[in-house]
Amino acid sequence: DTAVSQTPKYLVTQMGNDKSIKCEQNLGHDTMYWYKQDSKKFLKIMFSYNNKELIINETVPNRFSPKSPDKAHLNLHINSLELGDSAVYFCASSPTSGRASETQYFGPGTRLLVL
């Protein structure tokens, strides 16, 4: 029944480690996104993929690498984690046609804490 799911929901790790967050949507949407919500709750887009192609790449350190193996999945890999990477990361997806086109539906978020 889940629409947009993310794993894990919580991630605690040490500085310098590499970690991945996975996202899956079962809505049949063509476009998927990653957003970052900082400690002041400000939300900002990081990446967007449309049919497995990268279409939005905001100013994000190249330690962050998204990967979309298929339309339903968009994973986020982070190398050499830093304290400033601590945040909540949201995955979202949207259809590109139909009545709800361009409306983004969010996953539950992954809270990342870097120690």
Binding site: K41, S48, N50, E102, Q104, F106, R111
Partner: protein, 117 residues
């Protein structure tokens, strides 16, 4: 570049009363979308309402309605008959129309709404 401003960091309302959350935005685009999202303590981002800029009629969803003033670049959210479950952070967001490729949401800073019994 587009910006979205929510000038009320916190608001409170008594249960069953009406409250209006403000949002203004800046853009030179003519074709775009505006959204209100709700984020309760559970952290989930929930779509409340959406407005297409080309539509003059204000969007409504049950107890939620907007006052969209395109010339003034204003997009306020009215919540009628407030319920305890409406307690949440509310985000206003702008998105430029990008055809069939989706687009990035530009969010305001959020308004923390508390509904008091």
């Amino acid at each position: 570049a587009q910006t979205v401003t929510q000038s009320q960091p916190e608001m409170s309302v008594q249960e069953a009363e009406t409250v209006t959350l403000s949002c203004t935005y800046d853009t030179s685009e003519n074709n775009y979308y505006l959204f209100w999202y709700k984020q309760p303590p559970s952290r989930q981002m929930i779509l409340v309402i959406r407005q297409e800029a080309y539509k003059q009629q204000n969007a409504t969803e049950n107890r939620f309605s907007v006052n969209f003033q395109k010339a003034a670049k204003s997009f306020s959210l009215k919540i009628s008959d407030s319920q305890l479950g409406d307690t949440a952070m509310y985000f206003c967001a702008f998105m430029k129309h990008r055809g069939n490729q989706g687009g990035k949401l530009i969010f305001g800073q959020g308004t923390e709404l508390s509904v008091k019994p």
